[in-house]
Amino acid sequence: MAYTTLQPQAGGFLSRLGFGNKARKKPAAAEEMKRVQFTSPVLPYLFLFPQLAVIIIFFYWPSVQALSSSFYIEDPFGFGSTFVGLSNYTDVIFSSEYQSIALFTAVFTLLVTFLSLSIGLLLAVKADRIIRGASTYKTLLIAIYAIAAPVSGLIGMMIFDQHVGPFVKMMSFFGWHMQVGLNYYDTAFAMTVVAVWKQIPYNFIFFLSGLQNVPVSVREAAMIDCRSGLRRFWTVILPLLAPTAFFLLTINVTYALFDTFGIIDVMVKDKPANNPVTLVYKVYADGFRGNDIGGSSAQSVILMIVVFVLTIFQFRFIERRVHYN
């Protein structure tokens, strides 16, 4: 993170707004950064207003709405609502369907995060070693990231299509007759593959730039100190990639939990059978298809708490092991 200090421009637009610089002389050595001071107390809030407005309108307000409607049962036709206390929550938590979806979501998230991180890292390490034609490889690998989630879901659907899908045909040679959209595990498999495939380029970009930030002389020193390339990677390169990896871990968990919605929607929409979905998809399906606003709100509140706990865990326990240079 880089902090930039706004340089006041004498007599300019900013100073007319009351943006003056009255830097008091501090004891030497004490102040490293120049402190920018505002002459009017309202001004900083004015600057913050657009950002705050966006957060309040699109995040806090819906959150409060969800929280409040999770305590009501809403009439499906919008004729009023009844306060039911915590029964929306108890209904959700003790439903076996919800429990199995929660389990699937956990497994799905773990798999997608692990696979997309490790494959992304592997590709980045390989691409980093290539000298000739490096930019072609990189462009080809990164290009996939430009595909929108529903489109990649659609492409995935075609690959796994029961009649024309090339992957399905290939697998049938080995005696595996995939039925994506009908068979629970086949669908889960296809869903995971597409979700991982979609996320690899993102991880690849970050890992590659992380690798290129490892100083050449440190690698060379390691070459003299350690013969085994694999050992060098584990003991020198990977620890230096840890900040990148931690950032990607957070991003990938969020991706697997929430951003796979588009892929899942394309894959399971209009399919008759008991297909795997994630918690987020169930929130949507119950709320907007099933018109159970209260139950869906309760689910989204639970999900919010889960993410909250997960984030705290990541920053408390994993970030500690990360070395920032």
């Binding site: 100083p215 020193a221 070459m223 100190d225 050992r231 003991t235 070395h323």
Partner: protein, 365 residues
């Protein structure tokens, strides 16, 4: 500890760019060799070829009795100190020192003993548990040296290790490197572009230019008998004055003056003459070459007067108290003149015989 034998070594990069050509160098066991030259002269490339960080395109490098052209850097039994230290930022100082030993399966007790000894030698014992980012530049450099020392390698390779330090620290670290190398007796190759560092550290200097060796010799040899105008202008501060002159028999015409060499004539016709700033003397009267001072650099112990003789720039070194006047005249002991071929810049013969001391410089009619 081992001798290093570099024979007919050349480096051609992909694309056909030639960085180094035909280097022959016999480094004796325990010798301190300094590769010196301007940037781009191939000195670092040569060092990196010895280290195994660059492939050797031509010739062979032998460390001890073993040709190492195809040997992995880790198996060459060398340790390298890098310009920007190249410490592992995520490891403590102790882990940095241990890393190379651990990977070589050195017994734990041995590792501890060596690390503690090196730390004591370099006075970094109290920093062993710190990360490199908590150290100053000088301390990091010590750790980098410690990492090389604990390995007890056949050779140390230094790639401009002091150029990131400030001037004062550089002088003291220079002394320390010399002291350590003497004490350990490890063969060392040291790359620098700083001629002063090269002069003070080297047992033997190797002056490189354009990927080729210009001269190999002890620092004083190189200083007193530079093999070419390039070496003459590169080694020594201030640089040797190089003047166009003409030899007519045993008379040397420099600008407006004529110096008699008393029967000595290394060649005839156009020649480049080298004059060390400290060999030039100020004389009174009409003798010598007229010297017009343009500006003076005060160095405290001495003063450097920059000016012209005729239309050629000349620098002379004077004692701190010497008076500087307009219309000074300077002269030189002819035995201290260096003659170079005007075309190739190569040194001509030895210098004028000592009997030519009584030089008479007379204005050209």
């Amino acid at each position: 500890m081992a001798a290093i034998d570099i024979s007919s070594v050349g480096k051609i990069y992909t694309g056909g760019v030639r960085a180094v050509s035909d280097i022959n160098l016999d480094i004796k066991d325990g010798e301190f060799i300094v590769l010196v030259g301007p940037s781009g002269c191939g000195k670092s490339t040569l060092l990196r070829m010895v280290a195994g960080l660059e492939a050797i395109s031509e010739g062979t490098v032998k460390i001890g009795d073993r040709v190492v052209n195809e040997v992995e850097p880790a198996d060459r039994d060398i340790a390298m100190v890098f310009q920007n230290y190249a410490l592992y930022p995520h490891m403590t100082v102790r882990q940095n020192l241990e890393y190379g030993l651990k990977n070589r399966k050195t017994p734990r007790a041995e590792i501890d003993a060596r690390v503690n000894e090196a730390a004591r030698m370099l006075e970094i014992t109290q920093y062993l548990d710190r990360k490199p980012r908590a150290l100053s530049g000088g301390q990091r450099q010590r750790v980098a040296m410690g990492r090389a020392i604990v390995r007890k390698p056949a050779a140390f390779l230094f790639d401009e290790p002091l150029s990131n330090l400030d001037a004062k620290l550089r002088v003291s670290m220079r002394g320390e490197i010399k002291r350590l190398q003497r004490r350990l007796g490890t063969t060392s190759i040291y790359v620098t572009h700083d001629q002063l560092e090269a002069m003070t550290l080297a047992d033997r200097l190797v002056v490189l230019s354009g990927g080729q060796i210009e001269q190999v010799g002890s620092p004083l040899d190189v200083y007193h008998t530079p093999a070419s105008t390039f070496v003459a202008s590169f080694i020594g501060s201030p640089a040797m004055n190089l003047m166009k002159a003409e030899l007519q028999g045993d008379k040397l015409a420099i600008g407006p003056s004529l110096i008699s060499l008393n029967g000595y004539a290394p060649t005839s016709g156009a020649v480049t003459v080298g004059l060390r700033a400290e060999d030039l003397r100020v004389v009174s009267g009409d003798e010598g070459m007229p010297f017009t001072v343009e500006y003076v650099e005060e160095l405290g112990s001495q003063r450097l007067a920059h000016g012209v003789v005729g239309d050629q720039a000349v620098t002379i070194a004077l004692s701190g108290e010497a008076e500087i006047t307009d219309g000074m005249r300077i002269t030189i002991d002819p035995s201290k003149l260096h003659f170079f071929d005007a075309e190739t810049g190569k040194r001509l013969d030895a210098r004028a015989p000592a009997k030519a001391v009584a030089a008479v410089a007379e204005p050209v009619g």
